[in-house]
């Protein structure tokens, strides 16, 4: 075999190995804490971040704040562990998050807001209509819903981020113990 080709093949194999190991490090090492379907990393944006955390933050949450300021929990599945799909209707049911202010936002697979006529991208502490007991139900669906309708696109996957602005100290001390809404699949088309 040609000598150059022989060594070039070693470099190509090395590059492929680097690509695979980086992709693994960026995804497999994610989500250090979990509460139901909601995942968070407690090191977003902080200066203690290591090389891998910085790279992950740059790719998935650039310009994030540290955990005393804001905690971000993301869910890509419902409470039963099935991937969220724009073909289904989900009920997000819970109470106020333990923070000074909170919001829940839907994102498309590219991590951008999902286009819809109503220009509704999120529900927050101050925009969510409550039940008589103070709890809330938000419905995520491509089809119109009564009250608190968070629109998504049929045929496309999506995920949701819950933001705790100035979370209570108990939340950042023990992120797995945070109480977040359940995500229940009601039906699919």
């Amino acid at each position: 075999m040609n000598r150059y080709l022989y060594w070039a093949s070693a470099l190509v194999a090395g590059a492929a190995l680097a690509a695979v190991s980086i992709a693994w490090a960026m995804t497999a090492l994610q989500g250090e804490y979990r509460s139901g379907p909601w995942y968070t990393s407690a090191v977003f944006g902080s200066v203690d971040a290591d090389m891998y955390t910085r790279a992950r933050v740059a790719m998935f949450g650039l310009l994030a704040l540290d955990r005393r300021e804001t905690m971000y929990y993301t869910a890509a599945t419902d409470s039963e562990g099935n991937a969220l799909s724009g073909d289904c209707t989900y009920r997000i049911e819970g109470g106020d998050l333990a923070a000074h202010w909170w919001s829940i936002t839907a994102y498309d697979a590219a991590s951008f807001l999902i286009e819809n006529e109503q220009r509704v991208y999120s529900f927050s502490q101050t925009t969510t209509e409550r039940e008589p007991d103070g709890s809330f139900v938000i419905r995520v669906s491509a089809d119109p819903q009564e009250k608190n309708w968070l629109p998504v696109k049929r045929g496309e996957s999506f995920d949701m981020t819950a933001r705790f602005y100035n979370p209570e100290a108990s939340i950042y001390a023990d992120p797995s113990a945070a109480v977040l809404p359940v995500i229940v699949k009601e039906g699919c088309k």
Partner: protein, 180 residues
């Protein structure tokens, strides 16, 4: 085992390790530099930009919050310190500084240290390492940046659709400018 095969494996592994570390190291630097260019555009350095309410059309930074009114100042401290003044608004305002490698090295919100009333101002002077002036004015916090390039990002919670005009009127009084 054949010696040439061992050498081949060594070269492949060596290349993999070097590339792995170099790429992971470069990811935040490249992405931050691209984001600063996308956000700042040409020429608007050390000046606040007040972005309109975020919609699906916004694609400069991933996972933007539609409930926040952002004000952004691309920082370049190579010609000297920069003064930042941010009037606070309820229920939540924060000023966060980011280095060229994405680290959030400073944050101040409207609720710390007894809290700021609506319209009261967060005041800081930001300088590159070793470039902090001796005469930082009273009422200004001195903040040393780890890198000359970076971003100042103000987040204000938009409580509901009616809140935006009030926030717009207030944030016009924000300052991001070379210290004179």
């Amino acid at each position: 085992m054949n010696r040439r095969l061992i050498q081949w494996i060594a070269v492949a592994l060596g290349a993999a390790i070097v590339l792995h570390v170099a790429i992971v190291w470069a990811i935040p630097r490249v992405i931050m530099s691209v984001a600063m260019k996308r956000i700042g555009g040409e020429g608007s350095v050390n000046a606040f930009m007040h972005t309109p309410r975020t919609t699906h059309e916004f694609r400069a930074v991933v996972r933007p919050s539609p409930d926040l009114a952002y004000s952004i100042c691309v920082l370049d401290l190579s010609d000297g310190p920069v003064v930042i003044e941010v009037p606070a608004s309820d229920p939540y305002t924060s000023l966060a500084l980011y280095s060229a490698i994405t680290d959030n090295y400073f944050v101040r919100n409207n609720r710390q240290d007894g809290g700021l009333a609506e319209g009261e101002t967060i005041r800081i002077v930001v300088a590159a390492p070793g470039a902090m002036p001796a005469d930082v004015p009273e009422g200004y916090e001195a903040v040393t940046a780890p890198t000359e390039k970076g971003l100042a990002l103000v987040r204000r919670v938009i409580e509901n659709d009616e809140a935006m005009p009030r926030l717009d009127a207030l944030r016009k009084f924000s300052v991001c400018a070379r210290a004179s």
